[in-house]
Amino acid sequence: MEDYKYLFKVVLIGNAGVGKTCLVSRYTKGFFPPGQMATIGVDFMIKTVEIDGDKVKLQIWDTAGQERFRSITQSYYRSANALILVYDVCSQQSYESLPHWVHEIELYAGTKVLAFLVGNKIDQTDKREIPTHIGKEFAERYEMRFLETSAKEADNVEKLFTSIAYQLTAQARDLELRPEQQGTVITGGSTPIASAPSCCKL
C-alpha cells in the first residue's frame, strides 16, 4: 500500500543566506521564491522520484543557519542519509565558514553519510568570488561530491537531488543483495519501507 519503496532523509546545512531554502523550493515546488523569509529552526519538504522503476521518497530537511537554533539543527544531522553543505560562490565569507561546517558534520553526522558540497548562485557571474576549482579542491580534500548550482536559474538543482536519490538507492539495493549484513546496520533514521536498511549510517 505504500506509495514508495525507499525513503531517504537529506539535510541541507550552511550559512544563512546562501540559498538552501531556495534550492529546496526550486526542487520540490519548481519555483524560485521571490521574497523569502529566513528559515526558522528546521523544516522539510517531500519529493518522490522514480529511480529505475522504484519510487523513492526524499524527505528534504532545510535548516536555519542561525545560532539560536544550533542544538536543534545539529540533532537532524545524525539521522540524515545525505548532507548537502551549501555555500554562496559570491560570498568569500560563506566559503570561509566551510571548515566550521565540516567540523560540525564530523561531530554530529554519521561517518559514512553521503556528503555533497554545493556552490550556489552561479547565475551571478559578475559577482563571483570563489572560482569553481577552489570549491572543487575543498570538496576533494574532505571527500565530498561537488556541484555548482543556481536555484534562481534552476541550474544543476534537479541533477543534485536526483544524483543523491540515485546513489542512496544504489547503496540501499546493494545492502539488500547482502542480507547477512542487514542486521549489523544501525538504522539511524531512514525509514525504509521494505526493511531496506538506511544506508550505512553511523
Partner: protein
Amino acid sequence: MSGGCCGCVAALKPRYKRLVDNIFPANPQDGLVKNNMEKLTFYALSSRPEKLDRIGQYLEQKLTADINRHRFEFVFIAMEALDQLLVSCHAHSLNLFVESYLKMVQKLLECQEPDLQITATNSFVKFSNIEEDAPSYHRRYDFFVSKFSSMCHSGEQFGKEMKQKIRGAGLRGIQGVVRKTISDELQVNIWEQVHMDKIVPSLLFNMQDTKSTGADIESPKDEDDPAHLAEVVFRDLVCRASYGNIRCVLVPILVHLDNHRAWVPTDFAVRVFKIVMYSVQSQYGYLVIQLLLSHLDKHVKDDPQIKTSILTVLFEAVLISAGGSIGPSVLEVFNNLLRHLRISVDNKGKNQAQYSAEVKFQDAIVNTIGEFANNLPDYQKIEIMMFVMGKFPQFADEEIGGHMDQQLQINLLKTLLKATTKYKTVIMSNAFPPEFLHPLLRMSLMEDAGMRITVQDILHTLIDRHGNTKKLKRIELCGNIAVLELSVEKCSRQDILFMKKSGMQFYWHILENLQLESNRVDNLEALYCTMGLLAVEMGGDDIIVDLFRLALDIQGLATGTTLPLTHRCALHAMVAAYLNLISQLVTCQQAFEYVQSVIELRKFRAQHLLPDFAYNRTNRPQSLSELEKSELYPKTDQVKEEWLFEQSLLTTHLASTGLDVSRLGTPFTQKPYSGDNMDPTMSASDIGSINIEMESVDGSPSMARRRYSGVEEITVESLKKMLSEENTEDKEESERRRREVVNTFRTAPFEEIVAKSEAKSNHFHNKLNEILDFVSNTCVKETPVDGMSSEPGDTPFGMQFPDLFVY
C-alpha cells in the same frame, strides 16, 4: 471518490465502502454525516476485525486523493471519522487499522498547510491517550519526533496566534509519542540519542522563549502557552526516565545550555535543573549530580562565570536531592570539587574582574561542598572532613611544611566549617576519631589568627551538643551562671573515656594557642568558648579537676610569659572567668567562695585582671601614654600573690566535696618559656609523668619514649643554631631594633603590634618548618601529630620573639 459520488457505482461497491462514502456530505460545509457515522461505527464494531482494517485502508485512499486535490474540508471530515472509530473500537485489536491511521496522520503532517498539521497532531494526541491492549509492532514514530520537533520551532511567519497553535501542537505531539512508545518494548526506543537530541532542545527552546508570551502576567498559567506546555511535557519526560536512560535526557540539556550560552545568567539553567530534580525519580538524583560534576570538568578552563553557574546549578540540585541520595562515590565528588577549588585559586587571573569572578566561583564551591556534606549521614561527614583536611599539605602527614596558598587554606577551612555545621554529635569519640582530631588540633595553631578562629568554630560546632556556644562566647563573670541558661546534661561514660584519652591534646593545644602573640580578643574568646564547652559537655567529676588544672596552667602562663601586658591581663581575666564558671558547674560551694574572694580582691585592687576591663574592646590602650594615664593599669607589671588563684587552696576545697584531686598538683606541661617565674614545683618527674600519660594514650610506651627523646635532641640543637643565627646580627643593629620594638609598643595600637608580631612569627615559623621537616626526615618514621603532643616542653612556639621582650 467522495461525497457526491454514489449512485449506480455505489451499488457494486462492498458494503463497508458504501458506509464510508456515506459519512461524507454532499456539501463539505455540512460536516460529518452523524447518522451514517453511527452506522459505520456499529458496522465496524459488530464485524470481524478485518473489516475495520479494510475501512482504514479505504479511508486512507480517499484521504490521499483529497489531499492531492486540496479538498481540505473532506480531509478534516475524514480525520474526525478516524478519531471516532479509534475511540469506539479500541477494545478490538487495532493493529492494522492503526497502521493506516498513522499513515494518514503522517500524510497530513507532510503537508505545508499549518491547519492540516495541527489537525493531524490533535488527532494523534487523542490516539496517544488510547491504551491498546495488544502490543503493537514498530511504527514510524521516528518521523513524528522529527516533525513535531520542527513544529516546536516554527510558526513565526504566521503571526502570534498561529505560532502558538503550531508550537503547542508540536509539544503535545512529542508528549504523545513519548507516551505511546515508552511502555511498549516493541516500539522505537524513544531514549535513543537521535530522538532525545530533538525532543529535549525543542522543549527547552520553548521553555526559554518567554518572549513568545511577552510579559503576559495576567495569564501565566495559560494552558496553551508554549512555554508552560513545554515545561509540563519536560516534567513528564524526566519523571519517566529510569536508571538506564536518565543520562539520555540530561546530556542534551547540557549540550543545549552550552550551545545557546544559557549558563549565564544562571536563572534559566537553575530553573531547568530544579524541574529535573523535582521530577526525576529520587533514587536517581545522584546521577544528575554526577553528570553536572563531569560537565564542570569540561568547563574547567572556561570563564569562571560559567563555572560558577554550573556550580550554582549543582548546589541547587544537591539542596533538592534528599539526604543520602548523593551516591556511593562521595569522596570522588569532593575530590573533584576540591580540585576545581585548587585550580581556581592557582588561576590568579589577569585582571580584577576575572579575579573577583574566580573568588565568586570559590565561594560557590565552598557552599556546594558544605551542602553536600550536610546531606550525608554523620559518619560520612567526619570522613569528608578528614578528607578535606588531607588537602592541607602542612597538616597531611607526609608533607610537613609544604606550602599552600593562603586563599586556598581559607577556602578549605570555610569548607570544613560548612561541613560541620549540620553534624549532630552524639558521642564525642565518633565526632573526633584520632585521625581527625590530631590534624584538626594542629591546624588550631596556624599562623593566621583569623584562620585559628575558624578552627575553634569547628571545634565548637562539634563539641556543643546543647546549643551553648553562643552563651559561652563572651568572657564575663556571672555571679550566678543560671543567668546563662546553659543546658547541661550528665556526661556519659563513653565521653569520660574519650576525655581521658584525648583531653590532654585539647589542653595542650589550648595552652599553646594562648601563648600566640598574634591573638586578638576574638581568638581568646573563641578559646574560652572551647574550654567552656568542654566543661559543660564533659565536665564529669574526673574531668572537671583537669579543667581546674588547665585554669591554673593558664595562670602560670600569664605570670611567666613575655607576652605584652594586654595579653597577660587578658589571660588572667580569662582564668578568673573560667574558674568562676567551673566552680559553679562542679557545685563546690567552698571553691566557688574562694574564687569569688580572689575576684573581689581584684575588683578592688586589680581590675585590669578582670574580664570587664581586659575584654572591653573600647578601652584598649591606643598607646603607652594612654596606658600610663589609665588608672586601671598598674604602673608596674607586678602581679601580687593574693590576686592569684592558689592551687593548694583550690585542692583543699575541691577535695572537701570528695573529688579526686591528686591530679591537680601536676601541671600539664612544662612552661613553654622558662622565665624568672618558673614554677618551682616543676621537676623532672613531672615531665616523666606527662610522658606516661602519653604512653597510655598510645599503648606503645617504648615508641613514645624513643620519639620523645629523638625530637628533643634535634630540637635543642636546632633551636640553638637558630638562636645563634639571630645573634650573628650586629650588636648595634639588634640594639636599634630593640629600641624600635619598645617604641612600637609604646605608641602603636594593639592590633598593629599584633600584626607586627604576626609577620615576625611567620619568619620564625618558616624556619621552624624547615627544622621540623628535617626532623621528620631524619627521625624514626612516626606520626608527627603524636610527636607534637608528646614534646610539650620543647615546643618551639614558646621560644619565639626574643626581640619582643618588652618587659
